[in-house]
């Protein structure tokens, strides 16, 4: 087995371990905000970073061409953004809701047929091309976190409406904070995607390229989402649903473009 594949399996186990631990502690009713919860997430991120390093060396370029590589890169971006979002969220249940997504993407990457193929030799590396691809994928990770936060909002909203004031309720952040996070993450994703597409224009990529068309479609969708959020045209609950459902677009885009 290649070294990088082993690293990815270990990273997946770290995330799953964190998830299982969190669920067990939650079920026992003894969940507390603690920096210890960061440990599996931190270990997973470190292992994923090592994976990207070794995989990059193995293919001689940024590993972002095959679907399996893209899934892992997005998983890495989600874990990375998770540490950027803010202490209040990291130490609360955001991690618990993030780990299944990250672990699921990695499991999918590992089990895809012909995962992690060798790349065709690449000529001269153009930094702007690599930056364009990386920025686009990090923006998709931001949309993934927007989706996760949307799920948390809907859950907390349901608990509040139905007067189910139990263990999970106490661990979720205030819904007003969740609504703010949805708006900020959607905006962050849009800014990153805009930057990525601006780079693609600078690179004079063909507008008929399916990847570029898909990326523009995602950009249009999230521009509308951000506009709706900015103008308060929908209630926070409807916005949370929008954040969850909209994530299907970048996900489907990546799937269609890379599964060929």
């Amino acid at each position: 087995m290649e070294n990088y594949r082993l690293l990815l399996i270990l990273a997946t186990l770290a995330f799953l371990g964190g998830l299982v631990h969190a669920i067990a502690v939650l079920k026992s009713g003894a969940w507390r905000e603690s920096r210890w919860h960061l440990l599996p997430m931190g270990a997973g991120l470190a292992l994923l970073t090592a994976f990207l390093y070794f995989r990059g060396h193995a293919v001689g370029q940024c590993p972002m061409k095959s679907l399996s590589d893209i899934l892992v890169f997005i998983a890495w971006s989600i874990a990375f953004l998770y540490f950027m979002v803010g202490g209040a969220f990291r130490l609360s249940l955001l991690g618990l809701f993030t780990t299944p997504l990250v672990a699921g993407m990695q499991i999918l990457a590992l089990t895809l047929p012909d995962s992690f193929p060798a790349y065709a030799a690449k000529g001269k590396i153009i930094p702007l091309v690599e930056l364009h691809a990386a920025t686009a994928l990090i923006s998709y990770a931001a949309f993934a976190l927007t989706c996760v936060t949307g799920v948390m909002y809907l859950l907390q909203e349901r608990l509040l409406k139905r007067h189910r004031i139990g263990g999970l309720f106490h661990q979720l952040p205030p819904i007003q904070d969740l609504a703010k996070s949805i708006r900020r993450l959607a905006m962050l994703g849009l800014v990153l995607l805009t930057a990525s597409l601006a780079m693609s224009l600078a690179l004079q990529q063909s507008v008929t390229n399916p990847k570029v068309i898909g990326a523009w479609a995602v950009w249009v969708l999230y521009t509308i989402v951000n506009f709706v959020m900015w103008r308060h045209l929908l209630s926070p609950r409807q916005l949370a649903w929008l954040a969850v459902v909209s994530f299907a677009a970048p996900f489907v885009h990546l799937w269609l473009v890379n599964s060929k």
Partner: protein, 363 residues
Amino acid sequence: MSQHLVSLSLNYRTTPVEVRERVAFAESKVAEAAREIRALPGFEETVVLSTCNRVELYATHAHDDGMKGHELMRDYLVRHFSLQPAHAEALVFHEHVSTETARHLFRVVSGLDSMVLGETEIFGQVKQAYKVALDAGTTGRTLNKLFQQAFSVGKRVRNDTAIQRGSTSVGSVAVDLAEKVHDLKECRVMLVGAGEMSRTCAQSLLSRGAKSIIVSNRSYDRAVELAAEMKGSALKFDEWESALHDVDVIISSTSAPHFIIKPDLIHQVMRKRRWEPLLVIDIAVPRDVDPAVNEIEGVYLYDIDALQAIADDSRRERERQLAICEQIIEEQLSKFGFPKLPSAQQLLGKVQIGPDREAVSHM
């Protein structure tokens, strides 16, 4: 002669407040009391814990079974507070020796012996009592070790169980809810009606950092009075509806015989608020708020029954956690080398002969 760990406890369970208050030590007198007890025959170390719910004396005493120590401590209290025979007779103590002393202290520190099961204030109070004794030089190797062990057990119980989870009073449930809807520091509260219960809820919110309070009441004078008490502002009763969109929590407790907050009104309010979430707490009976208000997006309505049910659930949950806490305490007693004994509940009310004992005694 060997030293025995002994403790004498008088608390809300054994003694009514009108008697308890007669033997409560003023904060400034605790160190002096600890020194005085240590000066009694056979005593080497003492810690005095005096709170509104309990007066407890912990000590090491050189005697065969510790009974003499209890007697001396009881006499000291009667003498120190110059109690009349009638008051002295009304005192009911729990007496502990050796392992039972440790178990009792571990339960106290963990909040298992408190009036509100699992409350955390007692941990700080015991810490303070120990510090005072330490500074007064009335502790030694045995009590230092015992209290350090107690603090470690208290932390373990707090961290490893859900004994402190949830709120057990209507006021604190209201605060919990408000915290899960808004950042309390930015939270503006309106009281519609100035009843005692709404006052309690508002005070709980203020004590946890709510930004501002507006009080509206049929009697404007009463609204002004309450607003002044809570450093808020008063509003005439015919103006409260127009100010609703500007607040994040509404606590309603008028004596109106019909609903005064209806869906139409809240729909308008929510549009003005751009759907920012709104918590509505209806503690009036009959209710002030139409239940259909809870169906509106972003509005979370809780009436008095809902609040009470949440408080009851928390209380039951804490009671379920009690067995886990007791198990932790037994494990820790064993780990610290105390001989294994039946639990405190099994012994409560019984007098055991022997070196380890808990007994209930009257003067």
